[in-house]
């Protein structure tokens, strides 16, 4: 019976393709939009992901993320260093600052000032150069996306080449020397990310000289991190968060922008498309076959048999549509790898999309079953 159900399904090519297309479209929308959303959420955490040494991040209580921060007086650095359980504490400054290329191209970059002595907070993955060169006068390290993009060098004859060591930029009116190119996780905004030493950071951004954005803390081995964070809070009235807490805080700030609603609507659209297109076409296809289901009952088939046939048909179109949708989503993800576009596809997303498609298929099958279940052989007599 299963093979007959399959033949009856593919016998109506237009409807069969229509249902598969509906489920494919639903899967694609749900999986792809969710993957982009997760990619963006992941990027919002980039500061914590890329700077992995600290176990505690100390900040002003109003600071929510690198996009909404208030600097703290540098005097708190020594106070934090004196808290029991703290192995080391270093400053990290961060600001948005104008940057101009020799060809006159303007952009606003995220400028990081890392501790001069330890260089903690400097990029880990270097494409060219060394982080030690940040100590050179005017030394900066530029992220590779900007080096190849908005900050690329333009020769007087108009030809463009990636920024390289030895090139110069103008940051907030001061000369900066490129001493390295690094790879960092892209942020939510497509801005150049530039690293320098704290000493030079204060030159590029003079208003920040007595302040820092964060104090990065490494706790001693076996120290109770939440307890140390609590002590820092008590001693300084600053906010001290462990890595996960800071990530959660950034994510919550990010979600307040309404982005979840926007992507949620896209996913909802996918679900509606799945229900409407796939459900309706499958229902019509089943209606067209009602007399044949009645025939099957007339020649000895049972309702259970018909139920199995419809469930099998719904499962087949569901599996094909889902596989195609996931396949195209993954291909999309591979195609944009290495670009500035956000995409994150964890295995949980596979299950999430699969669960929604499963519900669509169940709905689709039930819609048809409730109609065909009562297909009576009587309707065949005298017609």
């Amino acid at each position: 019976m299963i093979s007959l159900a399959f033949k009856m399904l593919i016998g109506n090519k237009a409807s069969c393709i229509g249902v598969i297309f509906g489920i494919f479209l639903a899967t694609l929308l749900i999986a792809q939009q969710s993957a982009i959303f997760l990619g963006l959420v992941d990027r919002s955490n980039r500061i914590v992901t890329d700077i992995s040494d600290p176990t505690i991040w100390v900040m002003d209580p109003v600071t929510e993320s690198e996009d909404k921060l208030r600097a703290i007086p540098i005097r708190y650095l020594d106070l934090v260093r004196g808290v029991p359980g703290v192995e080391w504490a270093v400053p990290l400054s961060l600001t948005l600052i104008p940057v101009v290329t020799p060809a006159g191209k303007f952009d606003v970059s995220q400028l990081y000032g890392v501790d001069d002595a330890t260089l903690i907070g400097a990029p880990v993955q270097m494409v060219e150069g060394s982080i030690r060169d940040l100590r050179r006068e005017g030394g900066i390290i530029v992220d590779s996306y900007s080096a190849n993009g908005s900050l690329a060098h333009v020769d007087p004859n108009g030809t463009t080449r990636p920024l390289q060591i030895g090139d110069e930029l103008e940051i907030n009116g001061r000369r900066a020397l490129v001493v390295g190119i690094c790879k960092v996780t892209q942020g939510f905004y497509p801005q150049p990310i530039i690293f320098t030493s704290l000493r030079q950071f204060n030159k590029f951004s003079p208003g920040m000289s007595e302040k820092v954005s964060f104090i990065l803390v490494k706790t001693k081995v076996n120290a109770d991190i939440p307890h140390v964070a609590k002590l820092i809070n008590n001693y300084s009235e600053l906010r001290a968060l462990n890595r996960q807490e800071f990530k959660d805080q950034i994510r919550n700030f990010f979600l307040k922008t309404g982005i979840l609603i926007n992507f949620g609507l896209s996913v909802l659209l996918g679900i509606i498309i799945g229900f409407s297109i796939a459900g309706q076409i499958f229902y019509i296809m089943t209606l067209e076959n009602t007399v044949y289901y009645a025939l099957i009952r007339a020649i000895g088939g049972t309702r259970k048999m018909i139920l199995q046939m419809i469930v099998f048909q719904a499962a087949i179109v569901g599996i094909i549509g889902y596989t195609l949708g996931i396949g195209v989503t993954v291909l999309w993800g591979l195609a944009i790898q290495g670009t500035t576009l956000a995409f994150l596809f964890p295995w949980q997303l596979l299950l999430f999309t699969g669960a929604i498609v499963f519900v669509i298929c169940i709905f689709t099958a039930l819609l048809s079953i409730q109609k065909v279940y009562h297909a009576d052989p009587k309707m065949l007599m005298g017609t």
Binding site: L4, K7, Y292, L295, I299, G300, G301, M305, M381
Partner: protein, 232 residues
Amino acid sequence: MTKSIAVACKNIKKSYGSDENRVDALKPTDLEIHTGELTLLVGPSGSGKTTLVSIIATILTPDEGDLTLLGHSMNNLTEVEKAKFRSQNIGIVFQSLFLIPSLTVAENVALPLIIEGMKENEALQKAHHLLDKIHLLHKAKFSPTNLSKGQQQRVAIARAMINESSIMICDEPTSSLDHVSGFEIMKFLQELAKNTTKAVLVVTHDPRIFSYADRIIAMSDGEITPEGLKNE
């Protein structure tokens, strides 16, 4: 060849609707149909032919009376039990044939066996054998939509025959055929009744085919007319 009673209806009655909308589609009816005979059930539209034949096919349950098929009482069977009995003992050729267009001719013929649980290959082999007998083996892999009306009718009859059922019911088998094809089909059914000891019951209002009948049962206003019974 010994003839036995294949269908026995005793006081069978069927009504539709209730109270003042009540229509007695079939008044209390007694009837016997024998194996090895081609029986015609004739009468004008609305005379109760379809109701009677639906009850005999166990598709419709009578309000009252006893129905015995091949010695088995149908009165207390569940829907599933009736379906099983049908699949093993009754072949039905519907007026509109209802050949499934997405299946091949052979698959359509094999359908009752597949429903009964036979392996598809085995069922198809039997279908090919039967199609060979009715000279349609060369069309086995075609879609039924590519066949002429007469060929489609023969395929539908083959589907009704494949489970070697003892009772065959044909609803207006010649209604959409020209007279040559119609006569061919009736000759085929006549031979089927004689050679296989099947009880073949044909519902018709086509007087051209009356000559093929071993017996004619005429119906009018929901009951078998005495004239009809006299035709035995």
